[in-house]
Symmetry: C2
Subunit: 380 residues, 2 copies
């Protein structure tokens, strides 16, 4: 190609660990392909000499064998390729390579300049604890469900949960703006119910409505929720894009904790030889975007994550990422109260226990069940 490279770059590099599945020769070839695919997407022989060939094309920094058919490739990219935007950063890391088998993003290592652009969570673990007035023990969260209840019925549930000592009460992630529980009415009634309970208990329980919604409505719903007294925001980045979390987290008018829900993201992690690792997706990326807590399916529930995979998520919520605050892991998904002692071994105290249906199952009295839930974690 006759076009000379006329640009200048800083030399700062983003480093991505990819796990490549195949023989050693296949892994070498896959690594080289990633370097091209994620950047120039151009036949190698036509790449212009100079900066484009030397710095824009991804660089294979190292390739190590993990097992005979599994290799760890460290590939670096010029930070400028990310264009200072989370959307393009995600594209650079895994855009087209998501369409190829055998490639898994394991870990991100970002240069300092990106942390001047991406501030991550506004609250993080400590900020959320301060907000709730709970300095040390695990946090208790439940969900308003089932879908089909009216706003009044949901608010009544929220009131009982708040009265009984739950710290965080979120909408079930399937509550949107359905005719049987319209967003505005639901949010108003539930926020008021939780506020009333707080006045009676002196506690600081927060209501967290689901604002996952059509693109043009998300910020409106977030603002409406804030105004109505919501204490946090639930969003599913798999449905609306990871960058929405950033927009919400950066909004000084909102300044609410953001809880990320994994709906529609499962395909990234479900096959161990493809996609994005639990550590990187539910830990690093959700945190980089700015969520204060990351919901994921606990091991041993009705989903398939292993204990190891859950521990990897926890690691991703707290691994050094420049100045980014650590965030809360929030394991849920078919949990019940009997699981808590074992979960405490895995998650320690810095965890949000998310128990939905299981809280109804424990015994006939919902309020008693909540109190027992609180009792189990008190004094920790």
């Amino acid at each position: 190609m006759e076009y000379p490279s006329i640009i200048k770059l800083s030399g700062e590099r983003i480093i991505i660990d990819y796990c490549l599945n195949g023989s050693c020769d296949e892994a070498k070839s896959m690594a080289r392909n990633i370097c091209l695919e994620q950047t120039v997407e151009f036949p190698e022989e036509f790449i212009p000499e100079g900066v484009i060939r030397d710095q824009i094309v991804g660089k294979l920094e190292s390739l190590e064998s993990i097992s005979p058919r599994r290799f760890l490739a460290k590939i670096s990219y010029a930070v400028e390729c990310s264009g200072s935007e989370l959307t393009q950063l995600l594209n650079l890391v895994f855009g087209n390579s998501s369409i190829k088998p055998g490639i898994r993003v394991e870990r991100l290592e970002l240069p300092g300049s990106l942390y001047r652009l991406f501030h991550g969570p506004r609250f993080g673990r400590k900020g959320l604890r301060d907000l709730l007035g709970i300095p040390e023990r695990p946090l208790l969260c439940t969900a308003l469900k089932p879908m089909g209840l009216s706003p009044r019925q949901l608010a009544d549930l929220a009131y009982q949960f708040a009265l009984a000592g739950i710290d965080m009460i979120k909408d079930d992630h399937g509550l949107a703006d359905q005719p049987f529980a319209p967003f505005r009415e639901r949010v108003e009634l539930c926020a008021a119910a939780v506020s009333k309970a707080n006045q009676e208990t002196g506690r600081k329980c927060i209501y967290i409505p689901n604002i996952t919604s059509p693109a043009h409505l998300i910020m409106n719903r977030a603002r409406y929720a804030k105004q109505a007294g919501a204490g946090g925001l639930l969003i599913s980045p798999g449905l609306v894009g990871m960058d929405i979390i950033r927009e919400l987290a950066e909004d000084d008018g909102l300044a609410l904790p953001i809880i990320s829900h994994p709906a529609f993201q499962g395909s990234f992690v479900i096959h161990p030889d493809h996609g994005i690792s639990h550590f990187a997706l539910f830990g690093q990326l959700v945190r980089l975007a700015g969520a204060d807590a990351t919901i994921f399916p606990n091991y041993g529930g009705r989903f398939s994550f292993s204990r190891d995979e859950c521990q990897n998520i926890v690691a991703g919520t707290t691994v050094a990422m420049g100045p980014l605050k650590p965030i809360f892991p929030a394991p849920g998904g078919g949990m019940n109260l009997q699981r808590i002692p074992d979960m405490l071994e895995v998650y320690q105290r810095d965890v949000i226990f998310l128990i939905g249906g299981g809280l109804h199952q424990h015994g006939p009295d919902l309020i008693e069940n909540c109190r027992y839930f609180l009792h189990m974690v008190s004094g920790l």
Copy 2:
């Protein structure tokens, strides 16, 4: 649960075909779990009697064996559960079930009321042909690349492509707002270059910039592009959410063709026993959202889609979906000019041939290569 169902529903149902991988007993259990997981997420014994149990919970309409370990489940949901929103519709179809192995969404069948809400593509195949003034033959598309070129260099390329007879010139999907090719400067120069070429040739080539960008900037970039003379918009819904396509397609001030790019969506289709089918994802869903063309990796290129999978996408672009217009399949990804005769057999005339790097490889003269590209499809 003591809450009575007090709501009334229309009786209209959304029907989703899921392919379930496992034994017959496992498939039955998986199907029942999907009915609960995608709606109430609640222990079965506590689901309130009445409308919630009878209509809100998904219904298994049929379960057929495809092979000894593969079953097709038709599951229906009350249309109200989708809340009239594409985001919640996607969540209803596959939100939490994406986190379970062995489940693949094969096909969507929507009731008429949803087609009064979702209008799909503004242009579709015929509208795009009218816009380009090409009534019958395959459309020719190429991409401006490689990343690292300056706006002036990219515009120079665009000029050459347009002069030589290419119909659609898109940004490479990795061009965002990088310092070496800032969005505004790039769009202005490339749009002007294509316009200049059109004045010389009398043709109607369009420039299609990539507007995939942070959530708060997408609509601004789209409007800027329109104003600068862009003739279409390229967006990657895997990075920014499928609903953005709807917002773009519905905007009467824009009224530009929308081209969907598959970056970051590969994990949904890469494993045949999980995710979303090629037909549903790159065909039905992209079209429902409102894209006028769907880019995907062609069989036999540097990606792994099979010829069958590509044909399934084509089927999804044209299958009956209420009043939705059929859209263009746009196979690309490591294509070259030698492949065209075989591709014509698969795609027929209603196709956008997307050839990027291969257009540079064909011969030493880029303009000659484009002319040969045009020659191969002329008269079809």
